[in-house]
C-alpha cells in the first residue's frame, strides 16, 4: 500500500514569509507525528496527533509554528514569519495506533533565504 507522503519535497522561501507543509499518512493510521531534522543531526519531536487532536505539542519551538489535522488524516504544519533558523528537513511519521511503529515520509526540505 501507499506509504506516508509529504508535499512539497522542497520549499524555498524568503525570511518573513508564511509556509505550509503537508503530510498524508498511511491510510488507517490514527497517530501522526512531526519531527524537524537540522543538518547533521537526528530528528527532534515537534507535535503528535491522535486522531484530530494535538495530543502533545510540547516540541513546537514557538508560537510561529502551528499544525492541524482537521479530519484525522492529512496534517498541515504551518510556519508564520519564517526565519533562517527554520531551515531544516521536516519529517512526518504515522503509526497504526499510539505506541505503534512509526513509518516516515520522505520529508520536506525547507530553505529560508
Amino acid at each position: 500500500g501507499a506509504g506516508v507522503s509529504q508535499t512539497p519535497s522542497n520549499k524555498v522561501t524568503e525570511k518573513g514569509k508564511y509556509v505550509e507543509l503537508r503530510c498524508d499518512p498511511i491510510s488507517g493510521h490514527t497517530a501522526l507525528y512531526w519531527y524537524r531534522q537540522s543538518l547533521g543531526q537526528g530528528p527532534e519531536f515537534l507535535i503528535y496527533f491522535q486522531g484530530t487532536g494535538a495530543a502533545d505539542d510540547s516540541g513546537l519551538p514557538n508560537d510561529r509554528f502551528f499544525a492541524v489535522r482537521p479530519e484525522g488524516s492529512v496534517s498541515t504544519l504551518k510556519i508564520q514569519r519564517t526565519e533562517r533558523g527554520d531551515s531544516a528537513v521536516y519529517l512526518c511519521a504515522s503509526s497504526y495506533s499510539r505506541g505503534g511503529t512509526q513509518y516516515f515520509g520522505p520529508g520536506t526540505r525547507l530553505l529560508v533565504l
Binding site: Q41, G42, F45, A55, T101, G105, P106
Partner: protein, 116 residues
C-alpha cells in the same frame, strides 16, 4: 530526560564484510523500545530493526542484528555481508512505551560508507 548517543560520526566497511554501529542511551525507565532507522540520501527514514527492552533475545532481521545490553544501556547494530545499498545514515532511537506522546528520541547518526 532520556538521551541517545552515537559516538561514531562515520564508519566505513569493505563490501561483503561485517560492521558494527554503536549506540548508548540513558534512561531511568525499565520498559522501553529501541530502534535503528536507516536514512539514505532520499531522506526517508526506513525502519531497520526494533527491540523491546523486556525481551532478552536480541532482535534479528536478515543481515541485521543487534547486541542489546540492558544493564550497560548499549544497543549496537551489526550488519553482516555489507552491500552497496547499505550506504546511508543510521540513527538509533529510543521510545518509552507508556509515554504520553510516544515520541522517538534520536541519536545524531552514523554515516556508513561501503567500499566496493
Amino acid at each position: 530526560a532520556q538521551t541517545v548517543t552515537q559516538s561514531q560520526p562515520e564508519m566505513s566497511v569493505q563490501e561483503a564484510e561485517t560492521v558494527t554501529l554503536s549506540c548508548t542511551y540513558d534512561t531511568s525507565e525499565s520498559d522501553y523500545y529501541l530502534f535503528w532507522y536507516k536514512q539514505p540520501p532520499s531522506r526517508q527514514m526506513i525502519l531497520v530493526i526494533r527491540q523491546e527492552a523486556y525481551k532478552q533475545q536480541n532482535a534479528t532481521e536478515n543481515r541485521f542484528s543487534v547486541n542489546f545490553q540492558k544493564a550497560a544501556k548499549s544497543f549496537s547494530l551489526k550488519i553482516s555481508d555489507s552491500q552497496l545499498g547499505d550506504a546511508a545514515m543510521y540513527f538509533c532511537a529510543y521510545r518509552r512505551p507508556m509515554d504520553s506522546n510516544y515520541q522517538l528520541i534520536w541519536g545524531a547518526g552514523t554515516k556508513l560508507i561501503i567500499k566496493p
